[in-house]
């Protein structure tokens, strides 16, 4: 398994919790109540087995239900969510400390919750393609696992969107899963969670002749710009931004004018070089942990660097103490992002035990239909399984021969980037990586977590159209 290194933080854990912007309460309430049709899944239980008296007492409870969510006073979104709010409440766990979570599905269709970024067994992972059980409509399930690795992760629905784009990640079913290392103090004054999302999707013709998903509204932490609660800061503070792109399909660029982001971790994994950047790019499901020195007093908009998304609502105000002027947004920000900037200055590339080519192509199905996506020439579920050998280093060669960028994700594992567009690199570990159009990325996977493992593009419309493959252990 790829090594996980904890960031060197020195502030007290208590101070860390005081500064966090989300509270671990509400939707994820400790304890459980007697509920019918309970399924139990987890590290020690048979899939789908009924709850028994020996079932672990849940530490937290998530209720999936329809809600009407106000992203602004003028706009309410009818969707489904966790615990009646968007995003679902912060779930803060401790690495290595087993947890049991009870999930209540109050919807009229089956659902499933995926613990994105966790090295956990198949039955707990939350992917029906791997074999995790669905939670039936009106049903209850309990999931037990031992959280690891530490870092910023998330939990979200892994259901298909189906027609109409009203299910799957087009809903509000997502929340931050923060796994703290047992000795994980922080070297910062305040921790701020920033969750990006887009609302009301529709299909639109794209410039390359294929259909693409676009949105009417965007939000940060479930609110549109102007209807958010400003982030209050003081000059000289070090604010740790934990940023998640929970959008079903959109890549987002985030900027805070007058400030730079010092990127400490990507997808929860500390990076080799904590480079400073003006904007951060996040593909769907990517996470960025970045430190910002509050040294430019004023009132600013932390928001999308592109005007159209900012106007759609993707922004939140950062307000220095004692300042009350009109918030300023970023102007003319360059959109530059390169994973290589965060790697080792002197890359160390180890020889792989096996090489696995993964070629991404699409098949045209008409200007009025989404393209069909193929991995090595086949669409899921017809894709050939990719075979792994436990303990070996496998080099995954992501060869994107399409005109779309793909944020590809591997369940229950992470990988280390070893080459982007032909340039060797090391020191950047991730579980999602954007493979840009007509480009190649190579990543090393240490096969240390046996069981079915789903690989897919995290764009909901792409995975729904076949962009998935199953990795198996021999």
């Amino acid at each position: 398994m790829t090594a996980q290194v904890c960031p060197g933080r020195i502030a007290s854990r208590r101070a860390f919790l005081r500064g966090a912007s989300f509270a671990a309460a509400g939707a994820l309430v400790p304890g459980s109540h007697g509920l019918a049709k309970t399924l139990s899944v987890g590290t020690t239980r048979q899939q789908g087995a009924p709850l028994t008296r020996s079932a672990p007492v849940p530490d937290y409870r998530i209720e999936i239900a329809e809600i009407e969510w106000e992203i602004s006073p003028k706009k309410k979104i009818r969707t489904s969510a966790y615990g009646g709010q968007i995003p679902g409440r912060l779930l803060r766990l401790t690495e290595g400390k087993p947890v049991t979570i009870e999930i209540v599905n109050r919807l009229d269709h089956p659902e499933i919750v995926h613990w994105h970024g966790q090295w956990i067994p198949v039955d707990a992972d939350g992917s029906m393609e791997e074999g995790s059980p669905m939670i039936p409509a009106g049903g209850v399930a309990r999931v037990s696992f031992t959280p690891r690795p530490s870092g910023m992760h998330w939990y979200h629905t892994h259901a298909m969107a189906r027609r109409g784009m009203q299910h799957g990640l087009y809903t509000g079913q997502f929340g931050v899963l923060m796994v703290d290392a047992p000795t994980d103090p922080g070297r910062y004054d305040r921790e701020q969670f920033v969750v990006l999302n887009d609302w009301e999707p529709y299909n639109s013709p794209s410039d390359d002749g294929s259909m693409m998903v676009q949105y009417v509204y965007s939000s940060i932490n479930g609110r549109q710009l102007g209807h958010d609660v400003p982030i209050q800061v003081r000059p000289g503070e070090q604010v740790l931004f934990q940023i998640l792109n929970a959008s079903a399909t959109e890549v987002h660029w985030l900027a805070l004018p007058g400030h730079q982001f010092q990127v400490l971790a990507l997808d929860g994994f500390p990076v080799a070089t904590a480079a400073k950047v003006d904007t951060v790019r996040l593909g769907p499901a990517e996470r960025v942990t970045a430190l910002v020195s509050m040294d430019t007093p004023g009132v600013w908009i932390l928001g999308e660097a592109r005007t159209s998304y900012l106007k759609a609502g993707m922004g939140t105000v950062v307000e220095y103490a004692g300042r009350s002027e009109k918030p300023k947004a970023a102007e003319g920000t360059s959109l530059k992002w390169d994973y290589r900037a965060f790697g080792d200055p002197s890359p160390v590339i180890r020889k792989p035990d096996a090489t696995i080519p993964l070629v991404f192509t699409s098949r045209f199905r008409g200007h009025g239909a989404p393209d069909q996506w193929l991995v090595n020439g086949k669409s899921f579920p017809e894709t050939d399984p990719v075979m792994l050998k436990e303990g070996l280093r496998h080099r995954l060669v992501f060869d994107n021969r399409s005109t779309d960028d793909h944020p590809v994700h591997l369940h229950r594992h992470n990988f280390e980037l070893v080459s982007v567009r032909g340039t060797p690199m090391s020191g950047v570990h991730k579980d999602v990586v954007i493979v840009e159009a007509n480009s190649r990325v190579e990543a090393d996977l240490l096969a240390t977590n046996p069981g079915n493992t789903l690989f897919h593009c995290h764009q909901q419309d792409h995975m729904d159209a076949g962009f998935m493959a199953l990795f198996r252990y021999t």
Binding site: G209, G332, T333, F364, R365, G366, G368
Partner: protein
């Protein structure tokens, strides 16, 4: 199709309707509009291989006429545009002549409304010289509905026309529908059938013999989002219709996106 000189006029006392047809812009409209900060420049080239050979009522013949139309469309907002036309005609013995100009504002139902079909509405006003059309000032309102589903494309333009100056003022509102069905053979090549008609006055539909009816097997090449290429061959089976027309459209979109 822009039957912008779709004037019916009476020939002598016989009361027979003939049609001084001018095929200057032969196109079934889709519901999309040009994006803001973008301009589409199109050249419509139509050659009447077999049409009216006689000068009727002072209107020049269409036989072997080459019509070139320049269309410039400017995107205003995500749901509106304005088009401007310059019509020309070249006929043996007459040379290249300016025919007239039209202006055409158009609005559409924004995509963000997420309607199941594309809907837009254009209105077109313009002048054409009497030597090419006895009706010199005309107005058209054109509802547009389209739908792309999978490889299939459908569009219908039930246009209504009104003459403001010319012999057809008394005709009232004319009905000139157009429709298209298309199929995407590949990502870049689509083919289909376009239909154009002029039924005359909506209050007094002409008999089939005097209606304009045209069918164009046509091909669209989707080589780039910045290019529009369409060509087809039209068959006019009725007496009032030019019998064979070859049409081509080539368009280039120019965009000036905001920096950022």
């Amino acid at each position: 199709m822009k039957f912008f000189v779709a004037a019916f006029f009476t020939i002598a006392a016989a009361g027979i309707l003939a049609h001084a047809q001018g095929n200057y812009e032969i196109q079934v409209y889709g519901a999309d509009t040009i994006p803001p900060r973008s301009t589409m420049v199109e050249l419509h080239s139509n050659f009447t291989a077999d049409g009216e050979r006689l000068t009727i009522g002072g209107v020049e013949p269409t036989y072997h006429a080459e019509h070139e139309t320049i269309e410039i469309t400017q995107g205003i907002t995500a749901w509106s545009e304005v088009g401007f036309y310059v019509f020309t005609s070249e006929t043996t013995g007459y040379g290249v002549q300016w025919v007239g100009d039209h202006i055409r504002p158009r609005v559409r139902v924004p995509e963000t409304w997420r309607w199941p079909v594309g809907v837009s509405l254009s209105t077109e006003v313009g002048y054409q010289r009497a030597v090419f059309s006895p009706d010199t000032w005309t107005w058209e309102i054109r509802p547009i509905v389209d739908k792309q589903t999978g490889r299939w494309y459908f569009a219908v333009n039930p246009a209504l026309e009104r003459t403001w100056h010319g012999p057809d003022v008394a005709q009232g509102i004319g009905f000139s529908p157009a429709a298209k069905i298309g199929y995407d053979f590949t990502k870049k090549i689509s083919g289909g059938l376009e239909y154009y008609a002029d039924y005359g006055s909506i209050a007094n539909i002409a008999s089939l013999h005097y209606q304009q009816q045209q069918f164009f097997p046509a091909v669209d090449l989707n080589v780039s989002p910045d290019w529009e290429i369409n060509f087809g061959v039209g068959i006019g089976p009725t007496a009032a219709t030019d019998h064979w027309i070859v049409k081509g459209i080539i368009g280039r979109r120019f965009s000036w996106p905001k920096k950022k």
